[in-house]
Amino acid sequence: MAVALPTLWGSALAAGSASDVFKKPLTEASKPALQQSLSVLTASPLTMGDFKQTRTIKKMNREFVSTGSFAIDREAGIVWDTKKPFPSFLWVGDNSIVQWDVARDSKKTMSAKDNPVFAEFSGTIQSVFSGKFDELARNFDIFFVAGDSFSVGLVPKEKAVARVIASIVLSGRTELEKVTIVDGEGNQVVYDFSAQAHFKDLDSVEGAFKDLALKFKKVKK
C-alpha cells in the first residue's frame, strides 16, 4: 500500500545560498540537528520521485538539462531513470553499478566489489542520498546550517577526489529537495527533486512510479 506523503517544495531555501553553508563547519553542538535533518533521508524504506538535472559547463557557458525519475531503496540502492532528452537508466547498488540501455536492452555492469573506484563511487552516492552520517563524516568535511530548512555542505577530504567533486550541498525541509555538485573546474550539476513519495517496498508501489518500480526489479535480477 502506498504511503504517499505530501510534496513540500521550497522555491527558495530559508537557509540561504549554497555557498553560505561552507562558512558553518559542523560542531559537536550542531551535530544532533544535522542528524535530525538527515533523518528525513533515512526515515522511509523506499523514496521515489522526479528529478531535474542541470549540468553547467563553465568553459562553454552551456547548460544541459535532463529529467526523469529516481528511487532510493534503503536495501537495494539507488536508481536514476533519465527520460528526456536521452533515456538512460542507472542503478547504484552495494556491490555493483549497472548502466542499462533500455532501448537496446544491454546492461553494462561495473563490479564495486572488485574495483575500489566504483566501490568509492557507490559508497559516496549512497551515503549522500541515504544520509549515512558516519560514511559522510569519513569521506567529507561537513558544514551545516539549519533553520526552517537545512543545508549540508560536503567537501571531500581526499585531494584527488576534490578535482572531480569539489563540493556537494544537500538542502531541503522535510524532504531532500536539491543537491548541488561542483567539480574542481567550477562546473556544476544541480539535481532538483519533486513529487517525492514514500513506499514500504518495491512491490507496494502504485501510481506514477509503478513503471519505475518494475524497471528497478528487472535491473536487480
Partner: protein
Amino acid sequence: MRPASKKLVSVIIWAAIHVALISLGLLQPWKVESDLYSVLPDSSEFKNVSEAEKALSARSMRNFTVLVGHRDFAVAKSAAEALEASFALDSAFAETRLYVDDSAMQRMSDFFFEYCNVLQGKPVRDLLKAGLKAGDSSAFSAIADMARQKVYGAFTIADLSHLEDDPFLLGAESFDYFTLHSQLMGGRFTLRDGVLAAEDSSVSYVMWSAALSPTVSTMASDGHVLARLDRVLDSLRLTHEGLRIEKSGVPFHSYESSRNAQSEVAWISGVSIVLILLLLLWAFRTPVPIVCTLVAIGVAICAALSGTWALFGSIHVFTFVFGTSVIGVSIDYAIHFFTDWKHGTSESGLEIRRHIFKGLLLGFMTTELSYIALTFADFPLLRQMAVFSIVGLASSFATILLLFPNLPLPQGDARAKSMAPTRIPAFILDIYDHFAPRTVVVAGIVLLLALVPGVLKLNIHTDMRALYAMSENLKRSEALNARLNNLGISANYFIVEGSSEQELLQNEESLVRRLDSALDMAHDSVSSSVKPVLGGYLATSVYIPSLKVQEETFEGIRRLYASPVFGELLRDLNLSPDSVRVLEASPRYLTPQSEIPASFRSILSMLWIGEVNGKFYSAVFPLHVAANFEVSQFAEALPFVYAVNKMDNVNATLTDLSRVALLLVALAYLVVFVVLVLVYGFVQALKVIRAPVISCFFIAAVFGYCGIPFNFFAIVGVILTLGIGIDYALFFKEGGSRNLKTALAVMLSAMTTLISFGSLSFSSFVPVATFGFSVLLGILCCFALSPFSRR
C-alpha cells in the same frame, strides 16, 4: 735416478702444474654468479628468447613492496613517511615510491583526450569496425549514444569541457576504459591523503614500494641495504606502537635465503671441521698430517677455482657447495698416505707412494671418469661442478703423489705400529670375518630383494617449488599483498618477438585477439558456475597499439564524423557545427617512445623488454587464470609468441637432466668396470664395483620408501657416492684381508665424508639437505659393504 733427485723433480712438476693452473685463472677477471636464473637450464623451445626472459626476470627481481599498517591510518602514514625519508636519497635504490601526485588523474585525462582519435579500447574499436562495414549505422549510433549518456545521464564523471573539440567524448570513453574499467583497478588500494592505502581486518595499510639499484646484490651481507631497511623498520615498530610491517617481493626471499644459508653454512661447516680435526688428531696424535691435509685441500680448491674460472669465465656459488666433494676426496687420499706415514712399515715417503699408488690411481680414475661423464650433460651448472671436481681431485692426487712423499717420516716411538688406534677397525673386521660366505650371499640377496619395492616406488622428479620453503612471516606478507593488490598476475606468461617495434606490436595484437576470444567466452559464461579460464591480461599493445591498429581506429573515427550520426548528435547536444573543432587530417600517433603518464609508464616498463640481440621483445601477462589455463595453447601456430612456463620448463628440464646424468655415469661405470676387469679379472672387478652400485640402489630405495621425490640434487648425491664410494672397496682390495692399517684409513675416510656431507642433511635449505641425505645414505652403505671386497 737417486731418491733426492726424484723428490726434487716431483716437487718441480707439482709446482709447475699448479703455478700454470692458478696463473690461467688469475688472467681471467673474477666473477661470481649468485643469481639462480643465470644457471637454470633453458628448455629447448625457450632458448631463442632466453636472453629476453632473463632481462625481464632481472628487472622484476629488483622490485619489492613494504606495507606499513596500523589501526589508525594517520600513524601508518606517518611511519611510511619516515620510511620514505630514510631511503628516498639512498643510492642503493633505483627508486622509491610513496606519494601519488593528486594531479595524476588529470594528466591521464589529458593524455586520453590528446590521443582519443587513435587510442580506443576494444569495445569502441569493435563498434568502429562494424560501422566501417557498409550499411551498419547502428554501431556508429551506439558510439553517439555513449556521448549522449555522458552528457545527460546521472552521476557521470566525464570531463565535458572538451565537448566542442570531441563531441563523441571519445577521450572520456578512452579514459573510462583504460583507467576506471582497467584490470589494474582490481586491487583494494585507493588514493588516501596522497598515498595508496587499503584496509584489511580493520588495519589501514600504506604502500611503500621500491626498486633496488642494479648494482645491489641480493646476497646477504652486514651492510646490505635490506639489512639497513630491517633496522629502520625495527626502529619504526618501536616508535609506533601497534605498527604492522608486511614485506613482499623477490629481493626479500633472495636475501632471507642467502642469510639463512650463510649462517647455516657457518655452523654446519664449523661443527664438521672441529669433528674431523678431532678425529684426525685421535688417529695420528700429531698435527703434521692435519696441517698437510689442510694444505692439500687449500691448494686443490685454488686449482679447481682457477681451472673453472679459466674455462667458464665465472663461477656460480652452487659450484662451491657441490664442489665440497673435492674436500671429501682430498681428505681420503691424504688419510691413506698418512696412515702409512704414521703407522706403517715403509722406509720412506717414496715407498709409501709405491704401496698406495695402485689403489689411489684406480680410485682417482674411477672418480674422475664419473665427473668426466657429467661434462657431457647439457647443463652449464653441472658441467661447472664436474670441471671444478675434476681439477680439484687432480690437484689433490698430484699433491699426495708428488709433494707428500718428501715429508720426513716420524722417528722412534712416534711411528710405533702399536700406537695405531686399530681396535675399532679390528673389531669391525672381526664381525665381517664371522660371516660365512654363504650367509653373505643370502643376506645380499635378501637386501637386494628388500630394495626392489622401494626402487619401484621411486619418483624421479624435480620440482623447484618444493625446494624452497618460505618463512611464515614472508608467506603471510605475500598472501596479504596478493589479497590487497588482487592483480592475479600469472606465473606463466608470453614473450612476443618482432624484428621491429611495429612488427612486435602487431605480433602482440595477434596474441591479444586470441586472449580476447577467451575473455569473451568467459563473459558469455559469466552466469555459469565454471570458473573462467582467463580474467584479463596486461600487454603493451593495449596501451600503445601498432600504427596499423591506430590507423584503423582513426579511419573509423573519420568515417564516424562523416556519417549522419554526427549531425544528429550535434543537434541533440545543441552544438553548432561551426563551434565544433574539425577532425584533423593526420592525427598524432603513439609509439613506445611517446610521452605517456607515469602510472602507465611503470606498467609498460614491466611489459616492454625492448631490443635484445637485434630483435624486439615484450611480455604479455595473463591475469586471474584458472588452474587449467595453458599458455602453450594460446601460443600455438604463432611462431613469434613463446609460452613461458618457467617453473614447469625448469622442472621438466632438470628431471630430464637427472636421467641423462644418471645414464652418463652408468656409462662411465661401465668403462670403470672394463678397466677393473682388465686389472683384477671379472669376478674380482664385480666384487669391487658392487659396493657403490648397491649403495646407489640403497639410496634410491630409501627415497622411494620415504616417498621423497628423487630430484636432481639427490641424483648429484648418487653420482658423488659412485665417485667416492668405489675408493673404499678399492683400498680394501689393495690392502689385503687383515690389513688393519687399510681398515683404519677407510674408516677414517668414511667418517670424515659422513661428517662433512651428513651434516648437510640438517640444512633447512632443501636442495642442500637432499644432497647431504643422499650422500649420507650412499657412503654409509658403501662403507658397510666395502670390507667384502677384501682379498
